[in-house]
Amino acid sequence: MLTLNSLLAVLPLIIVATTAVVVMLGIAWQRHHGVTALVSAAGLVLALLALPMAYGAPESPPLMQVDGLAIMASTLVLLSALVTVALSHHYLTGYLGPREEFYLLLLCAVTGALGLVASDHLATLFISLELLSMPLYGMLAYSFRAERSLEAGIKYLILSAAATAFLLFGMALIYARTGRLDLAGLAAGLAASPDSWTLAGAALMLAGLGFKLSVIPFHLWTPDVYQGGPAPATIFLATVSKLAVFAVLIRLVLTAPIFESEWLLTLISLLALITMLGGNLLALFQSNLKRLLGYSSIAHFGYLLVAVVAGGSLAVETTGVYLVTYLATTLAAFGVVTQVSSPFSGEDAAGLHHYRGLFWRRPWLAAVMTVSFLSLAGIPLTAGFIGKFYVIALGVADSRWWLVGGIVAGSAIGIFYYLRVMVTLYMPEPGMRRRDATNDWGNRVGGLTLLATAVVILLLGIYPAPMIDWVVGLSAVP
């Protein structure tokens, strides 16, 4: 039952939700962009500060499980959201329509994400997932006057709704066979009888979640939505949404033994293999940076699926570490796009030609971008390498040689386009018209955050021990 103690466990969620309400009321009272952003950020920081308290809470509320995994994921969610807020502020400054609602949507989505990572029951899982997705439609179509933003919103809405339907139907099937909706019960019920209905249910659920993670063949929306959405929305989609969904996926897989069925694992391995190779192959000659990052994220979640296949405590640890590195990297990469596209005016500056010779105009910005792309490629001394190291180690430890081979091949392919982007930054500047970051980008909150992210990437790459310890501490399997 709900007790005060158990409420303590969801304190961060409550804080964020309250902030959302405050922001909403604030907008109703008087619009002020700066204050709204500040309040949102403050709420997120407060929630972040409340996390240790939540971890220390003696019990979780019903339908939820605030364990190490949840805390870890929540931390990452909140941090990513914070960075998104920081980047959004500068970006939205130039937006002509109402700006404040963006933060509202964002806070709602964060609430959903916080719930999702802690959900212990299909109902919470479903509701939180939708609470996460629904505001995202709005965020993606936020600049709906721009054609592409609208297109992105519509595509994501319809396909995501379809995926939700898959997920729901899968849940319903499993429920029909087991009569349980809580994960633990599900596990107990499923252990006895994996028949074709439950297997189908599990597969449909996987498909539903796989969509959010853009696992091939449910990935087709990714590049379009990444490209069309306003940069902050894309960032949010690429980081918070994906990581929360992955957290719940890994929880699902770890708890429910049905996912240990060898065939299902083989299936997931196959999907992982296709995803990591396909994502990289798709990106090869892409010249739109946001699409390229979309493809790249497909590949990265392909790598991460190895953790789902492998299972065990090292898998959780790998998930944690990989997500940390992925987040830092993605935030930095998109952050640069945001900076170059800020302040908002029409479509984002995602074409590669805008970045040609960036180093000679904005050396630090280009350095951030270089670092993030090196990290995406998994080059040593960046966070990405630690992530890749973990994934390969996991594959090796579990003797999944095909997957390991896939990672190696995928990385080799990936390097081609990461390098292509990187070297563009250093090429001589073209004569053609291009967009550029504002001169004072580095002095603004967003710019400083971005620099900090890059530093974090390097720090994680050079001295990852504290981060690993943190993750290890939180990833003891229940």
Partner: protein, 509 residues
């Protein structure tokens, strides 16, 4: 601590260079030069004061050692150590690094600071490779040096014919090395996890992993993982595809570093890691490795003869020379392994010399196409003479270091694998053919265009003279070098002594 500084100095120097650009073009150059000379001086001082005799008994074979915990979760340490072999190679890095700075003095005119940043970081990475004893750390440096090299080729390289080839060359270089490097990472991790399964302790330490009892089914694959990574870098045919492009398109400094040092990291890796970690598998693999070496010698030479681009020609000769090194490393003979070390050093000098010379010719003629050279002997003073010296070295003329290396290899390998040596000796003829072809096409023959060209200035002259002097010095008195690495080569050779390479031993009588 001095080891840490050896690695850090180039990195810090690089950052300085980058920032020093605001004080003009000269500042980065001087800083970079000073940095590399500093590294060189440190290593020479270490050499002077070090004692490289073979330790008796259980003593640590390292001259200097430094370790600090890094990622305790996996037992990863920052473990640096220096012995004779690494010292020689670090000194070589310092020397060639200084040369690389010097030879780009006029060649690189744009973004000087950033250029030197990249250059010095490559060298820092290479020094790291030579010093790292923790496999994780080794891999880290191994991969890390690719990035600045990539930029060096992609940004300051010579445009090939089709416009974008320098970027393609750089990308190809990167992908080859990175992909093979990942194979090595997989092998390292497997080894670590095998060790973990055996003992319950995570460790990436070289000393610890050496004794790991790897299941028989797995060991050959792990050995291959290491071997392929090194084979790509060495390079061994058929993994050589990156090399001609990368060498040809890179700026002179890049070519010098590539041929002079980066290729050596592979040989070093085989000697330091692949062989000691998997002695039995390596021994079983030796016939294959030697055959690959032979293929490299012949194939590299044949291709070198067919090139029109002077730098491509030199690049292919590297393949040929490294074939000798590969044979030596797998011969299980101390003499041959010592020869391999000498040849590594020698090849560093001679190929660096040739690359610098072709850079200087490029500065004067603005072409690397040998079809429109010819008759330069009469047009440029002095440079042809130096070319002659390095060509002689490259074809293994006695009294040059290359001769000492090659012949020690052949002498050492002959008892175990005479057939290999017989075929490899055929490579000596081919070496003469391609080396003289270079001479012939560039400096002899009818004059293509009239008019004399400026001779070398003091900087160029000094560089060349230093290289020639070193080539001759090592060629006539290699003993200090040999004494330094004896403590490494001896044990490396003993790894093989349990059995004979019977399959290859087409005994003469």
């Amino acid at each position: 601590m001095i080891l840490v500084w050896l690695i850090l100095i180039p990195f810090l120097g690089g950052l300085f260079c980058w920032q020093a650009e605001r004080w003009g073009d000269k500042a980065p150059r001087w800083i970079a030069l000073a940095t590399m000379l500093f590294v060189l001086v440190i290593s020479i001082v270490l050499w002077w004061t070090g004692d490289f005799s073979l330790p008796d008994g259980g003593q640590s074979p390292w001259l200097l050692e430094w370790r600090a915990p890094w990622i305790p979760r996996f037992g990863i340490e920052i473990h640096l150590a220096l012995d004779g072999l690494s010292l020689i190679l670090v000194a070589l890095t310092g020397f060639l690094g200084a040369l690389a700075v010097l030879c780009s003095w006029h060649e690189i005119a744009h973004r000087v600071g950033f250029f030197h940043l990249n250059l010095l970081w490559i060298l820092g990475g290479v020094v790291g490779v030579f010093l790292a004893l923790d496999l994780f750390l080794f891999f880290l440096f191994w991969e890390m040096m690719l990035v600045p090299m990539y930029f060096l080729i992609a940004l300051w390289g010579h445009s090939g014919s089709a416009g974008h080839t320098r970027i393609r060359a750089a990308t190809r270089f990167f992908i080859y090395t990175q992909a093979s490097g990942l194979l090595m990472l997989v092998a390292i991790l497997t080894l670590v996890f095998v060790h973990y399964a055996n003992t319950g302790v995570f460790s990436f330490s070289y000393d610890v992993l050496r004794g790991t009892d790897v299941p028989d089914a797995l060991a050959p694959w792990l050995m291959l993982g290491f071997f392929i990574a090194f084979a790509v870098k060495l390079p061994v045919v058929p993994f050589h595809g990156w090399l001609p492009d990368a060498h040809a398109q890179a700026p002179t400094a890049g070519s010098v570093d590539l041929a002079g040092i980066l290729l050596k990291t592979a040989a070093y890796g085989i000697l330091r890691f692949a062989l000691p970690l998997f002695p039995e598998e390596s021994q079983a693999f030796a016939p294959v490795a030697m055959t690959l070496g032979l293929v490299g010698i012949i194939y590299g030479a044949v291709l070198a003869c067919g090139q029109q681009d002077i730098k491509r020609l030199i690049a292919y000769t590297s393949i040929s020379h490294m074939g000798f090194v590969l044979i030596a490393l797998y011969s299980g003979s101390e003499l041959a392994i010592q020869g391999a070390v000498v040849l590594m050093v020698a090849h560093a000098f001679s190929s660096a010399g040739l690359f610098i010379l072709s850079g200087q010719i490029y500065e004067r003629l603005h072409t690397r196409d040998m079809r429109i050279m010819g008759g330069l002997w009469g047009r440029i003073p002095i440079l042809p003479g130096f070319t002659l010296c390095f060509v002689a070295a490259s074809l293994g003329m006695p009294a040059t270091a290359n001769f000492v290396g090659e012949f020690m290899i052949l002498f050492g390998t002959f008892p175990t694998a005479p057939v290999v040596v017989v075929i490899a000796s055929g490579g000596l003829v081919l070496a003469a053919i391609y080396s003289l072809l270079l001479m012939q096409r560039v400096h002899f023959g009818p004059v293509h265009r009239q008019g004399s060209l400026p001779g070398p200035d003091l900087r160029e002259y000094g560089m060349m003279l230093a290289l020639v002097a070193l080539v001759l010095l090592v060629g006539l008195y290699p003993q200090p070098l040999l004494d330094t690495t004896a403590a490494v080569s001896g044990p490396a050779a003993e790894l093989f002594t349990d059995g004979k390479l019977s399959t290859l031993a087409g005994e003469v009588d």
